[in-house]
């Protein structure tokens, strides 16, 4: 693992030490009361402020889903579940949801596979591997607004780099913005471009956390490179694989910035994803009720995915973790 150079790290990543530390707390009630007072003094202002600025608006957003409220000047009307019924009847919404899901799945699988391949290479004792790691990660720190504009220049219809190359090869230029396929294609390319380095780094950390003794044992048993990959590396990566798949999936189904800046949902709304739809409703169409309902559905999907991850990861390493550290693990997303 990168943080503990040279030291082998148990797959548990020091969680056991955590629980070990907690047990050493003094259990006197006087201490507890004093701790409670300090905690209250420190936490109350921060959490209250957070409730005002994040908690309340979030709850309010969910409540909006039960109202019909078009235009801020209009007055809201309580309509029970009408917005939700519309969500699953109106192709505008359920198609956007479906698109979010498969686009997210596509982006996640390409990003993670490419990242995994890269991490296998980065795990070799290469010269300059630190430089490779940094370079691959650079796209992740750039601003989406800024870099999508660079992609837009590359994809410009009249003087875009890619069209100029096509022309010089004697092929007709492509109006990318008129094609659903190319719209989706470039959104996926951009998302993978931005995510692959981060995925590679996390995979790499996973690879380095696999116990080296297992490889030595496999060597003694005469296992080949492929057998080692299948029977040592992949099983050892399971905890980190569940983590990286779920976190990537959760962020990939919420992709909207690249859609907003690269295709703007076009042509004819064919590349609209759900979070982009929420944006449209909220800030262009002022359909606040539908925006609220859509975001509640999005939140439900994300929370479901999280719960699945939680159950999956706790089943996979029940043998090595204690109850408390599983709880901590749950929050790690």
């Amino acid at each position: 693992m990168i943080s503990n150079e040279g030291k082998a790290v148990e797959p548990d990543g020091g969680q056991l030490a955590v629980t070990g530390g907690l047990r050493k707390f003094p259990r006197k009630s006087a201490v507890k009361r004093r701790d409670g007072l300090i905690a209250a003094i420190i936490l109350t202002p921060m959490i209250l402020w957070w409730l005002v600025l994040s908690g309340f608006p979030t709850l309010f957003g969910f409540v909006l889903g039960f109202f019909e409220w078009i235009g801020i000047s209009d007055s809201p009307k309580f309509v029970w579940f009408d917005n939700y019924v519309r969500f699953f009847r109106d192709p505008l919404y359920y198609q956007a949801l479906w698109r979010s899901i498969w686009l997210g799945g596509l982006v996640t699988s390409i990003t993670l596979l490419a990242g995994f391949g890269a991490s296998l290479l980065m795990n070799m004792p290469l010269f300059g591997k630190g430089i490779y790691r940094s370079v691959w990660y650079i796209p992740a720190v750039t601003s989406t607004v800024a870099t999508t504009q660079i992609f837009n220049i590359l994809l410009d219809t009249n003087n875009g780099v890619i069209n100029n190359i096509l022309i010089s090869m004697g092929k007709p230029p492509i109006v990318w913005q008129y094609s659903v396929f190319w719209g989706v294609f470039w959104i996926v390319v951009y998302s993978v471009w931005k995510g692959v380095g981060g995925a590679a780094l996390i995979w790499l950390a996973g690879l380095q956390s696999v116990d080296t003794a297992l490889y030595e044992a496999a060597d003694i048993d005469g296992a080949g490179r492929f057998a080692k990959l299948m029977h040592v590396t992949l099983p050892g990566l399971k905890p980190i694989a569940t983590y990286i798949v779920i976190t990537n999936l959760i962020s990939a189904i919420q992709i909207y910035e690249q859609v907003l800046f690269m295709t703007n949902g076009g042509p004819y709304g064919q590349t609209e994803v759900l979070v982009f739809r929420i944006y449209r409703d909220a800030f262009w169409d002022f359909n606040l009720g539908m925006a609220g309902a859509s975001s509640l559905i999005m939140a439900a999907i994300v929370l479901t995915a999280t719960v699945f991850y939680y159950r999956w990861s706790t089943v996979s390493d029940r043998s090595i973790t204690t109850r408390r550290s599983r709880k901590i693990r749950k929050g790690g997303l």
Partner: protein
């Protein structure tokens, strides 16, 4: 020395050459949009408009103008102002993120009180709710902020919309992800250290800032860099909650200019967009290079601990 030459010899084995080739080649492709942005940054507006852009266009009369504009300002846009706004916002948000993460992390890692787990897990669970949910309600909240911007209690004015307050107001609220990371990192520090300090008469604040903080530097650096980058790159707050030109940040300025870019047949002001993109990207890259050790480390940690 012998070991070094052995390592060097290994690099030329086919397997290693292949790895170098792939990592270098794909790395170059990943960097390409940024390299392109920098080379295009040397074009004058006229030359950019008349050049047929190739894979790597080089200006015939290279100019530093587009880079200098970031410091000197231009006629088209108050770039210095955007730059300054971005910077102040970022520093402010980072400061508060660090402070609240450290204090809350300490409370959750070290103190024992009833309801601790419940509070902590509830806060963490909220992190999974998509942020878009709160966008409109936040807009309404800002518009109805009591006694601000001509509001008599809730109505009558524009509240804190389109003022500096939209950037400042969120500062003191708890940084939940940061608190989680600090808690994890602090739990590895033996509790005896606090005890010893307490015996020597140190108060809570002294324990936090003098004893524990120096040991949390890697994770604090990670929180600082991720918060700074997120704030620096954020376009949503300025784009949705402000409208005055003097309140824009760099990404928001690009957002405003680029609405034309996504529809075919229009010619956006590319040179200005490129300049602003450079201004947004280069400082982020600088930050990354200074703190990359902590990013790699922090990412690995969050990943492993999941």
């Amino acid at each position: 020395m012998q070991e070094f030459s052995k390592k060097l010899a290994v690099q030329f084995k086919p397997k290693y050459l292949f790895a170098h080739l792939v990592l270098f080649g794909v790395g170059l492709v990943l960097l390409y949009p940024l390299i392109f942005m920098v080379t295009v940054g040397f074009f004058t507006e006229e030359e950019f408009m008349t050049t047929v852009l190739g894979l790597l266009p080089f200006a015939k009369q290279p100019t530093w103008e587009n880079f200098l504009v970031l410091f000197n300002g231009s006629a088209d846009a108050a770039i210095q102002q955007y730059f300054l706004n971005s910077t102040i916002r970022t520093v402010y948000a980072t400061f508060w993120a660090l402070l609240t993460a450290l204090l809350a992390g300490y409370v959750f890692a070290r103190l024992k009180f009833r309801g601790k787990e419940v509070i902590f897990l509830t806060l963490l669970a909220t992190q999974m709710i998509p942020a878009t949910v709160a966008l409109i309600p936040t807009y309404l909240q800002f518009a109805r902020w009591p006694f601000a911007g001509g509001n008599n209690i809730f109505t009558g004015g524009t509240g804190i919309l389109d003022t500096w307050w939209v950037y400042l107001i969120g500062g003191p609220s708890i940084n939940i992800m940061g608190a989680f990371l600090v808690k994890q990192s602090m739990e590895k520090v033996p509790y005896e250290l606090d005890e010893a300090a307490k015996v020597d008469g140190a108060g809570t604040l002294r324990i936090i800032f003098r004893i524990l903080l120096p040991l949390q530097m890697p994770i604090m650096a990670f929180i600082a860099i991720t918060t700074a980058l997120a704030t620096w790159n954020d376009f949503i707050t300025p784009f949705f909650y402000t409208s005055s030109d003097h309140l824009q940040t760099l990404p928001a300025a690009i957002t405003r200019l680029s609405s034309a870019a996504a529809s075919p047949g229009t010619v956006p002001n590319w040179p200005l967009i490129i300049t602003l993109s450079l201004g947004t990207t280069l400082p982020a890259l600088l930050l990354f290079f200074f703190f990359q050790k902590y990013i790699v480390q922090g990412l690995a940690n969050t990943g492993i601990k999941g």
